[in-house]
């Protein structure tokens, strides 16, 4: 398998491929969104505007399925940013890869003489940011913070009470549930995308014969990328809804 270049910058270990991927993802997402809203029009929307409006409607319905419709509005931007950023990130690693094979030791990237002597070293410079557990963990941390911040701020009594439901003895189980939510969120996204990329590089090893498989798998990865983006956004909204939205009609 490929190694990833790690740049030692003082005490920091910078995963260059991840940083590049994150930067590209952010830029692409922002450019797509900006292109879509370039010539905004009420009665004559452009194709891109139509597309983004479709995305807005889609996310609106998605959030609306997790919480009452009148509470959806504040989370629209979050949901849209999540789904667009994750979808584009998931696709980023699919079309190509950049691999270099250093033949000298490069101290700043962590290539040592032992590694070169040990055998073949390949550095991958291009990948999906979401194929990195550190990145998906970052996203999950953001979701975790938002969920519990909103829970404490908007719904304190019920939020705190739910840790001791249905009986106080359930507290440890509820705690595990609370912790497992962001962990599964991060791991699910990472594992799906990373597995997709691993399989792509594995198929590439077959050579020319692998082309049909590669096409099929790229198509499927597109699908997986969309599903994972959808799922991440959906679960985020469900968690927010569970923690922060207390529907008076449901409980008595």
């Amino acid at each position: 398998m490929h190694d990833f270049p790690i740049w030692q910058l003082g005490p920091l270990q910078i995963d260059v491929a991840t940083w590049i991927a994150l930067l590209v993802s952010v830029i692409v997402t922002f450019v797509v969104a900006r292109l879509a809203v370039r010539n905004l029009s009420v009665d004559n929307p452009s194709k891109m505007q139509n597309f983004l409006e479709w995305a807005v409607d889609f996310v609106h319905n998605l959030i609306g399925s997790a919480m009452p419709l009148n509470r959806v509005k504040p989370f629209m931007s979050l949901g849209l940013t999540l789904i667009m950023f994750i979808f584009i990130s998931n696709l980023l690693g699919l079309p190509f890869g950049i691999v270099t094979e250093p033949h000298h030791e490069i101290e700043s990237l962590g290539i040592t003489k032992e590694m070169l002597e040990h055998g073949h070293v390949a550095l991958a410079w291009w990948k999906s940011p979401t194929a990195d557990i550190s990145v998906t963990a970052g996203l999950a941390v953001i979701v975790f913070v938002i969920v519990h911040f909103l829970g404490l701020k908007q719904n304190k009594k019920h939020y705190l009470k739910h840790y001791f439901q249905p009986y106080p003895i359930f507290f440890p189980i509820n705690l595990i549930e609370t912790i497992s939510k962001p962990v599964t969120l991060a791991l699910r996204l990472y594992a799906n995308i990373f597995a997709g990329e691993v399989l792509i590089s594995t198929i590439l090893m077959i050579g020319w014969y692998g082309t049909p498989f590669l096409i099929a798998w790229q198509g499927f990865s597109l699908f997986v990328g969309a599903i994972q983006a959808f799922l991440f956004t959906m679960l985020t909204m469900v968690y927010i809804s569970q923690a922060a939205i207390h529907d008076e009609a449901e409980h008595h």
């Binding site: 922002f30 969104a33 931007s77 940013t81 950023f85 953001i142």
Partner: protein, 160 residues
């Protein structure tokens, strides 16, 4: 491949920046446009509703006016019919009265003429009688003359 907390931090920072940028420069304007469109559609629907109501009101008004006109026309015809009937009756009545009056006048005329004739005849007969009497008294002397007188008188009457 390993865990790098630097990546986690930069991912959070990148996502935060992206969220802020998108909210400010993409979704904010887009949401406001969509809201504007919603308002526009709402407004147009309201306008359509009100113009529909207006049209309905106009329709009802016209229908009422038409009904009124029809009723008026009927009334006018009815009135004309009553007037004409009454007028015909009047004319007939007047004619009848006139005829009766004329007949009565004629009868009265006849009666008065008759009475006049009778009176005239009576006066004449009286006069003649007086004349006869005076003639008798005048010519009592002889039978001959008397006979002559009667003949003369008879002749006189016969020639009248």
């Amino acid at each position: 491949m390993g865990w790098h907390w630097e990546s986690t931090v930069i991912a959070m920072v990148a996502f935060g920046i992206l969220y802020w940028l998108l909210s400010k420069y993409a979704f904010g304007p887009l949401f406001s446009i969509m809201e504007q469109r919603r308002q526009l559609v709402l407004e147009q629907m309201n306008t359509a509703e009100s113009s529909r109501k207006q049209a309905e009101a106009n329709m009802a008004e016209q229908k009422a006016a038409l009904d009124q006109a029809r009723k008026d026309a009927y009334d006018i015809i009815e009135q004309a019919r009553t007037t004409s009937t009454k007028q015909a009756d009047d004319i007939v009545q007047t004619a009848k009265t006139e005829a009766t009056r004329l007949k009565d006048d004629a009868l009265k005329d006849i009666e008065s003429e008759k009475n006049k004739a009778i009176a005239a005849l009576r006066t004449e007969v009286g006069g003649i009688s007086v004349k006869i009497a005076s003639k008798i008294i005048e010519k009592q002397i002889d039978e001959k003359s008397q006979e002559q007188l009667v003949n003369q008188y008879l002749k006189e009457v016969g020639s009248k």
